[in-house]
């Protein structure tokens, strides 16, 4: 029996259990004047949950363990005695036999796989029947047992609500699980990388050319400093030079000068800039902005202006970040107490003097926090640099020259044809770990700054 039909069958049984439990509870309530703790529907849910829960948990565990059991059963067969000793050949023969048995492929490279395929299919179907039997047994047992418990004195609601609470708690634990998954997988793969290349060579080396990695000294061409510099230059310098003035000035205009009706239209329009997918920005940067920037570079006398310049990627990234800076600045400006502004205006200062000398200094911590968050977003941004920045790592402060970034290199390293375990692919995880740590630190600092600032005015 296939997994899906089994699950549907179990859910069908649970539905029957729901109806049966509900009807039974409704029957004993009828004509009774007693007060009950639970509605019939609670009894129904109680039976249904115990019908569907145990088989699904069993099937989930089974799905993880059964492939190993099936393989063991196949190996116990006399036909498997001709298999080569454990190693690559053995694994490939077994996996071929598995795909033949499951009907996913029709030809086999190894002769032995063809003879093992029926054995595999037999073992597979035997274990499938066992699993189906146990799952159905669990469903019936759970359903029948709980059905007998349904009675006037049984507090089904308490039981059902307990299950609901466990579900809610599990859902919120998934966030922790994801965080741990990220940290663990990055640490694990990066750890394997640092066994091949020493951490200090990776973090402080100034030469990056993963295309040619010497087998004897892989660390020599995997020094990430040019990448860190490129990321900083594009994300934290060029993009911010665009995003901070535009974002701050639009926030000031929209909060201090614009009429409410204008603000109601302009603000969502500005936020559309943040809603445009990054791949669209990347295409725009590569197709429209990069050639224009190169033209500009050549016309002001920089002969080697690249068509994959840092400036093109940074400019477009800055435009993307504008609404982000603007909304953070907006929040901080609105949080400044009105008394400070009114006081300044009452002393005869013009609006712009009030804004420049009172509001912005007062809102500065919040604005700085917002800018830090924007920087962390910019350096984690991938598609714009993948499409518009170059793959060549150079240590240069010339915005017209080609520069590369951490995210661009992660994509380049992992989408090549290299096998999964080479120093090259593992380097991507080391870069990912660095990126994760830096963005995390930036976020923590930014949030602390913003929080302190909010508390100061509350």
């Amino acid at each position: 029996m296939s997994g899906l039909s089994l699950v549907i069958l179990v859910i069908g049984l649970a539905l029957i259990g729901w109806l049966a439990g509900r009807m039974r509870a409704a029957a004993f309530r009828r004509g009774s004047t007693r007060r009950f703790s639970s509605q019939p529907v609670h009894h129904g849910w109680f039976v249904a949950l115990w019908t569907v829960g145990p088989p699904l948990v069993f099937l989930a565990i089974w799905a993880l363990t059964s492939p190993a059991l099936v393989t063991d059963a196949v190996l116990a067969n006399p036909a498997a005695s001709q298999l080569p000793p454990p190693g690559f050949d053995r694994a490939s023969i077994l996996s071929e036999a598995r795909s033949l048995a499951q009907g996913r492929s029709y030809g086999a490279f190894h002769e032995l796989a063809r003879t093992l395929a029926p054995v595999y299919a037999a073992a597979q179907s035997r274990f499938d029947w066992i699993a189906s039997g146990i799952a159905l047994l669990l469903a019936f047992a759970g359903g029948a047992f709980t059905f007998t418990r349904v009675g006037p004195g049984f507090a089904a609601r308490t039981q059902v609500e307990r299950v609901v609470m466990i579900l809610l708690l599990t859902a919120s634990l998934i966030a922790i699980l994801t965080t741990m998954g990220i940290v663990a997988s990055l640490l694990w793969e990066a750890g394997r990388f640092f066994r091949i290349v020493p951490a200090w060579e990776f973090l402080f080396g100034t030469h990056w050319s993963p295309q040619v990695i010497s087998a004897r000294d892989p660390g020599a061409s995997l020094g990430a400093v040019p990448l860190f510099w490129g990321t900083f230059f594009i994300g934290a310098v060029i993009a911010m030079v665009v995003a901070i003035p535009f974002g701050l000035m639009s926030a000031i205009y929209l909060t201090q000068y614009a009429r409410a009706s204008t603000r109601r239209w302009i603000k969502p329009t500005l936020e559309m800039l943040a809603g445009v997918p990054t791949v669209v920005y990347g295409y725009f940067a590569a197709l429209t902005v990069a050639p224009a920037v190169r033209q500009l570079g050549v016309s002001i006398g920089i002969a080697d202006a690249s068509s994959e310049s840092a400036l093109a990627a940074g400019l477009v990234m800055g435009i993307m970040i504008i609404p982000f800076v603007s909304s953070m600045a907006d929040d901080s400006l609105s949080a400044v107490p009105a008394a400070m502004r009114d006081g300044s205006l009452a002393m005869g200062a013009t609006s712009s003097e009030t804004i420049r000398k009172v509001l912005v200094p007062a809102a500065l911590p919040g604005v700085v926090g917002g800018v830090l968050l924007a920087v962390s977003r910019a350096i984690g941004e991938t598609m714009i640099v993948v499409m518009a920045a170059s793959g060549v790592a150079t240590l240069t402060a010339n915005p017209f020259a080609s520069t590369t970034t951490v995210t661009k290199q992660i994509v380049d390293l992992l989408t090549g044809e290299a096998e999964f375990d080479s120093a090259k692919t593992l380097a991507a995880f080391a870069l990912g770990l660095t990126l994760f740590v830096i963005t995390l630190l930036l976020n923590i600092v930014a949030l602390t700054v913003v929080k302190r600032y909010r508390e100061a005015y509350e």
Binding site: E161, S172, W188, F246, M249, L270, P277, Y283, G432, L440
Partner: protein, 429 residues
């Protein structure tokens, strides 16, 4: 009052009437005022300029996509005089299996021969690789074409198509001029762009394959992220005790919302592909990865919506004997649902436009057939855009922009729906 701040009373020689009000009418004073007002106007103008330039960037971006992409929906067609001499009877092409029967009868060769006959040697190269499909469809629609001479419009080859739209090579331009002089060129809506999948020939590409992949991925994402996100939001806002575990959960969610999307791709690669050996480039894995990314967005939006439900509702429900679970599921959740849905749609719109994590899990392969199941290899719209943008062939430029237009239209529709929901159902307590 603090006595230190009180100015000393003037003593001795100073008279009270020596303090005069400032004279604002002197020349210096007026100049200063004028200067300050000018500065005020400049500042205000700078703010206005920042706003309009930002809006201008957006307008320029959208207009340039529209400008380049509009021609992607149009194809150039060449009128082909053709007399099919196929070894097949008309009744064979109206039953099932007509496609195979026609292909077997050599319709592709017949079309090439007709092109050579009509436009000289090299005539076949004027036509798209998919030109014979047009003829096939025409024959299936009208079997009498098998017995007579007819004029059928077929799509032109990529370089002819590009040249007809004004950006081709000189050689192609010359051929276009010749064809146009013969009256053989026409234009039509490229329906295949909306119904086909990826191809190596820019005149045969379509976005349906990528669109279907996006749809499947989004369904997986929604099915996982929505319940988990809403449950987590309910737990944190309504039940969670104030302790270290709750703090840890909150910190995790806030951090996950700020983690770069490519990191989720690395997680998907290491865990879903590396550890669990799920199929590469499948909507299932893409959906799982994007669900992890979208979940924190839904949790944060959900918590804000739940916070907006006034405590009096909860108190009233508790007072008439509802259990804590009943309070939440009968009263708080229905009232918070519009807000939660708005946040969910915005999160889904972000996931729909996401590219980088999907590149990590291998969704950048060339997939020429739309996926049928969530474990089939597939691609999604933004990744398709990325792949086409990498193509050297000039014909792909307009197709990329056209795909971007489709993607943006969907995002606009989703965000519009979210705004509608917010305005229609949001209650101010």
């Amino acid at each position: 009052m603090n006595s230190a701040l009180v100015p000393e009373a003037p003593t001795g020689n100073s008279e009270p009437d020596q303090r005069r009000p400032t004279d604002w009418t002197t020349g210096a004073s007026r100049r200063r005022t004028r200067r300050r007002y000018a500065a005020e106007r400049r500042f205000r103008l700078m703010g206005l300029a920042a706003v309009w330039l930002s809006v201008g960037f957006l307008a320029f971006l959208l207009m340039s996509m529209l400008w380049q992409g509009a021609s992607g929906f149009v194809e150039t067609r060449i009128t082909l005089p053709i007399a099919l001499q196929l070894d097949i009877t008309p009744d064979r092409v109206v039953v099932r299996g007509a496609d195979l029967a026609l292909a077997g009868a050599g319709i592709e060769g017949a079309v090439d021969a007709a092109a050579t006959a009509a436009y000289g040697a090299g005539g076949a190269e004027l036509l798209s690789d998919g030109a014979w499909l047009h003829v096939r469809d025409a024959v299936e629609a009208d079997p009498t074409l098998l017995n007579r001479r007819a004029m059928i419009d077929v799509s032109a080859a990529a370089d002819i198509d590009v040249a007809a739209k004004g950006e081709g090579t000189p050689a192609a331009e010359a051929q276009v001029a010749k064809l146009a002089a013969a009256g053989a060129l026409s234009r039509g809506f490229n329906l295949k762009f909306l119904t086909d999948a990826d191809s190596t020939d820019s005149t045969r590409v379509g976005i349906w394959g990528a669109f279907k992949g996006s749809l499947m991925t989004m369904i997986v994402t929604l099915a996982l992220a929505f319940p988990v996100g809403v449950f987590a939001a309910l737990y944190l806002e309504e039940y969670a005790p104030k302790n270290r575990w709750t703090d840890l959960i909150e910190v995790s969610i806030n951090n996950l919302a700020a983690v770069p999307s490519i990191i989720f791709g690395l997680l998907g690669l290491a865990v879903f592909l590396g550890t669990f050996h799920l199929p590469r480039s499948a909507p299932l894995v893409g959906g799982l990865t994007l669900a992890l990314m979208t979940m924190p967005v839904i949790v944060i939006a959900g918590r804000n919506a739940i916070k907006g439900v006034p405590p009096s509702i909860r108190d009233a429900a508790l007072a008439v004997g509802a259990s804590p679970v009943q309070v939440v599921f009968h009263h708080v959740l229905p009232l918070a649902l519009p807000g939660i849905l708005t946040g969910t749609i915005i999160g889904m719109a972000r996931a729909l436009g996401e590219t980088a994590p999907l590149l990590m899990i291998g969704m950048r392969a060339f997939i020429a057939a739309p996926p049928d199941r969530i474990t089939d290899p597939a691609t999604v719209l933004p990744v398709q855009i990325f792949l086409w943008s990498d193509e050297v062939n000039r014909g792909f430029v307009e197709k990329t922009s056209a795909a971007i237009i489709v993607l943006l239209l969907f995002l606009l529709a989703m965000n519009g729906f979210a705004i509608y929901l917010r305005n229609r159902f949001e209650t101010r307590w």
